[in-house]
C-alpha cells in the first residue's frame, strides 16, 4: 500500500519522527473552516505518486485566503487523469539543509538498501548517482542503524548527527510497519541540528496487512483513499479495469496468463475491459466471487462479450462450470454472450453443463478468439 503523505506522516510521527504541523482537508470549501497550523504554509495535494511538485500539487501560501485558493486549484487539477481527494496544509519550514534518506527492501540483494544524500529536496531520480550513497544492510535495526552511521560520516559535519538520529528511528519504523520503502525527502535539518521529515513516501506490504493492525484500521477508515488495496483486502483477488471503453470482459485466473491474454487481444486490435486473477482455488465451491466479478464487469458500458479463459491445472472444470452458470444467473446486469475456453480436469462434465446453458466450450484459445470476434462484429 503506497500511503498518502498525510497518513505516512501520522504513522512516522507516532514513532518519534517529527513532522511539520499539518491538517488534512477533504474538499475545497473545508479549507476556510479547518483549523490550520501556524503559517506560512505549504499546501500539498495528497496523491500516491512522485513528482507532485512538478505536477503543481505542492504550492506555497502566505495567508489563509491563499491557502483556500491554492487548495481549490489543487482539487481541480487532474494529474494523469486521477483526482485529488484530499490536501494537507502544513507549516512551512526554513531549513539550513535538505537531505535525502531512504530505505528500500531490495529483493535482488536480499536486504535493506540504505540510501543517503546531502542533495535532498528534489526528485531523487534527478540527483546524479555519485551524490547518493547506498549500501545494503541486513533487515534488523542494528544493521540498518550502523549502515546509516557509516554513510553519514561522509556528510557535512552539521548534518551527520541528525542523519544518525533519524536513521535509528526510521529503522524501527521500517521494520515495525513491514515497509517495502520509506523515503524522507527532504529531511529538513535546521540550524542547531534539529530535524523534521518534510515529506514521507511509505509503501507497505499488503501481504502483511492481516497482522498489521494499525495499517488495517487505517485502510478500513480510509478505504476510499485506497480503493484497489481495500478491494483486494476485502475480496482476496485482483481485479483492475484496464480500459473503461473496453469491449471484452475477462473472467480469467493467473496473473501472467491474464496479462498475456490482454496483450494478445490488444495486438489483435481487440480492447479488453478488465484484468482479473480470480484464483479458482479460492472459490471454495461458492459463487460469491464470480457473481461479484460479473457485476463489476457489467458496469462496463461497452462490454459486448464475456471471455472465460481458465487453465488452472487442478481446478475441477465441471464444478467451475456449474458455479459460472449460477453466477451468471445472479448477475443479470451483464447481458452479453459468453465464450468459454477451458483446459484441465472435468472437461466433459463442463461441456455438458455449459451446453445446457447455451454456452459453447472451446479448448483452443485461437478458436475462442474467433468466436469473441464474431460477437463483436454482430
Amino acid at each position: 500500500m503506497y500511503l498518502l503523505e498525510h497518513d505516512a506522516k501520522e504513522l512516522l510521527a507516532a514513532r518519534g519522527i517529527p513532522v511539520p504541523a499539518g491538517s488534512l482537508i477533504e474538499n475545497a470549501d473545508a479549507a476556510s473552516t479547518t483549523a490550520l497550523p501556524p503559517g506560512p504554509w505549504m499546501v500539498k495535494g495528497q496523491i500516491a505518486t512522485g513528482g507532485r511538485g512538478k505536477a503543481g500539487l505542492i504550492r506555497k501560501a502566505a495567508t489563509p485566503w491563499e491557502v483556500s485558493e491554492q487548495a481549490r486549484a489543487i482539487f481541480q487539477a487532474a494529474p494523469k487523469g486521477r483526482t485529488v481527494e484530499s490536501v494537507r496544509v502544513e507549516q512551512r519550514i526554513d531549513a539550513a539543509h535538505e537531505v535525502y534518506i531512504g530505505f528500500l527492501l531490495d529483493a535482488a540483494a536480499g536486504g535493506v538498501r540504505v540510501m543517503l544524500s546531502a542533495s535532498g529536496g528534489m526528485d531523487i531520480e534527478q540527483v546524479p548517482r555519485d551524490r547518493i550513497q547506498n549500501e545494503v544492510a541486513e533487515p534488523d535495526v542494528r544493521s540498518i542503524t550502523e549502515c546509516v552511521r557509516r554513510l553519514a560520516q561522509k556528510l557535512p559535519a552539521d548534518i551527520g548527527p541528525a542523519a544518525r538520529d533519524v536513521g535509528e528511528r526510521l529503522a524501527h519504523a521500517f521494520l515495525e510497519l513491514e515497509a517495502l520503502l520509506i523515503e524522507v525527502n527532504p529531511l529538513f535539518v535546521l540550524d542547531g541540528g534539529r530535524w523534521l521529515a518534510g515529506d514521507a513516501r511509505v509503501v507497505t506490504d499488503d501481504n502483511a496487512l492481516p497482522r498489521q493492525r494499525e495499517l488495517e484500521s487505517l485502510l478500513r477508515a480510509r478505504a476510499a483513499a485506497y480503493p484497489d488495496v481495500a478491494r483486494k483486502h476485502e475480496h482476496g483477488f485482483d481485479y483492475v479495469v484496464v480500459d473503461t471503453d473496453g469491449e471484452i470482459g475477462l473472467l480469467t485466473t493467473g496473473a501472467g496468463l491474464s496479462m498475456m491474454l490482454i496483450d494478445e487481444l490488444r495486438a489483435a486490435g481487440l480492447k479488453s475491459y478488465n484484468f482479473l486473477d480470480i484464483r479458482t482455488g479460492g472459490l471454495r465451491g461458492e459463487t460469491r466471487r464470480l457473481t461479484q466479478v460479473l457485476r463489476w464487469i457489467g458496469e462496463g458500458k461497452n462490454v459486448k462479450v464475456l471471455l472465460v479463459n481458465i487453465f488452472a491445472g487442478i481446478t475441477d472444470l465441471g464444478e467451475l462450470s456449474r458455479l459460472l452458470v449460477e453466477a451468471l444467473a445472479a448477475a443479470p446486469q451483464l447481458k452479453v454472450p459468453v465464450v468459454a475456453r477451458l483446459v484441465g480436469y472435468g472437461l466433459s462434465t463442463a461441456r455438458e453443463v455449459l451446453a445446457a446453458a447455451g454456452i459453447a466450450l472451446h479448448t483452443d484459445l485461437d478458436a475462442a478468439l474467433i468466436a469473441v470476434r464474431s460477437h463483436l462484429e454482430r
Binding site: G111, D205, G254, G256, M259, G313, I314
Partner: protein, 291 residues
C-alpha cells in the same frame, strides 16, 4: 550452485499434509510418480494420510524417512515458521506454493536458506518438476513432457499454457522451475543460469517473464557473464499494462522506466535472447529451432 534436478527416488514430505490442499496434492504428486514418503502436521492427531506416516515435526520425519525435499502446503502467515522447521531438520529442497507470504518473512527465509545452503523455490510458486521423474507442487500433468527445453517462469498459468502447447508440438521440458510471482523469492531466474548451462540434458532455455521487478534484467546479465551458449527464448507478459497498476503478482508493478516491457525486452535481446510477443509466435519459434 542451485541444482533443482530431483528425480523419482528423491524422498519427499508434505508439510501440512492433513489439510485440504495437502491431501489433494499429495495424491496428485504421487500419481505423477513423486516419491512421497511422509507428511508433517504439527499438533495434528493423524498418524497416516494416503498411506504415508504423518509426523509432528520435520526432524522426526527426516529421522524416520530420510526425506530430502519438502512441499510446504501451509498458509502464508505460517510459512516462515514451517520453513525454519524444515531447514533445521536438514531438508535440502523447499517448495512453497502459498500466495501472500509477507515480504519481510520472505527476506528472513531467503537469508536462512542462503546460510544453510537450502534450495528454496517460491513463494507463490506452482512448483517445480523434472518431467517423467517427479514434480513438487501443482504443475498440471498435461503440460509436463520430458524433453530438452529448460523452463522457468514467474507466472504459473502462463507457463502451463506454454508447456501445454509445446508438449502438443512434441517439445518437452528438462527441468521446470516456477520461481514464483513474489519480489523476494528463494530462487531467481539468474540463480539458475549456471545450472542450465551445465545440465547436459538441457539443450535450450525458455524463460517466461513479466513486467515489474528486475528478474529478467538480472537474468540477461547472468547469461552474458556466464557466456551462456544454448539458445534462449523468452515470453514477456504485461506489454499493455497501464503504468503504476499492480496486476496480480506483487512484482508486476511498473514505475516510470523501471521494469517496463521495453526495458526488459531490450535487456534480454542484448544478451542474445529471442523474445516473443505472443504464445503462437513462441511455439512456432521454439518448434522450428528445436525440432
Amino acid at each position: 550452485m542451485i541444482n533443482p534436478r530431483i528425480d523419482r527416488s528423491t524422498p519427499v514430505i508434505v508439510q501440512g499434509i492433513t489439510g485440504r490442499a495437502g491431501l489433494l496434492h499429495s495424491r496428485l504428486m504421487r500419481q505423477y510418480g513423486t516419491n512421497i514418503v511422509g507428511g508433517v502436521s504439527p499438533g495434528g492427531k493423524a498418524r497416516t494420510a494416503y498411506g504415508v506416516p504423518v509426523f509432528a515435526d520435520c526432524a522426526t520425519a527426516v529421522a524416520k524417512t530420510g526425506a530430502r525435499a519438502s512441499v510446504l502446503l501451509v498458509g502464508a502467515m505460517q510459512l516462515l515458521e514451517a520453513m525454519r522447521d524444515a531447514v533445521s531438520a536438514g531438508i535440502l529442497y523447499l517448495v512453497t506454493p502459498a500466495e501472500g507470504m509477507p515480504v519481510h518473512d520472505a527476506l528472513k527465509a531467503w537469508r536462512l536458506c542462503r546460510e544453510s545452503g537450502t534450495v528454496w523455490v517460491g513463494a507463490s510458486t506452482p512448483g517445480m518438476a523434472v518431467p517423467g521423474e517427479a514434480k513438487l507442487g501443482f504443475l498440471p500433468d498435461d503440460s509436463l513432457t520430458p524433453g530438452p527445453l529448460g523452463l522457468m517462469s514467474r507466472s504459473g498459468t502462463l507457463a502451463y499454457e506454454a508447456g501445454y502447447r509445446l508438449s502438443r508440438q512434441g517439445i518437452g521440458t528438462s527441468v521446470w522451475v516456477g520461481v514464483g510471482g513474489d519480489p523476494v523469492k528463494g530462487t531467481r531466474f539468474a540463480d539458475l543460469v549456471p545450472f542450465y548451462a551445465d545440465d547436459s540434458r538441457t539443450g535450450a532455455l525458455l524463460v517466461i517473464g513479466e513486467i515489474g521487478g528486475t528478474d529478467e534484467e538480472e537474468f540477461a546479465q547472468a547469461l552474458t557473464a556466464k557466456r551462456f551458449a544454448k539458445p534462449v527464448f523468452a515470453l514477456l507478459a504485461g506489454r499493455s499494462a497501464p503504468e503504476g497498476v499492480t496486476m496480480g503478482h506483487a512484482g508486476a508493478l511498473v514505475h516510470g522506466s523501471h521494469g517496463t516491457y521495453a526495458a526488459k525486452r531490450a535487456a534480454l535481446e542484448a544478451a542474445g535472447v529471442r523474445v516473443f510477443a505472443t504464445l503462437n509466435e513462441l511455439v512456432e519459434g521454439v518448434t522450428s529451432r528445436l525440432r
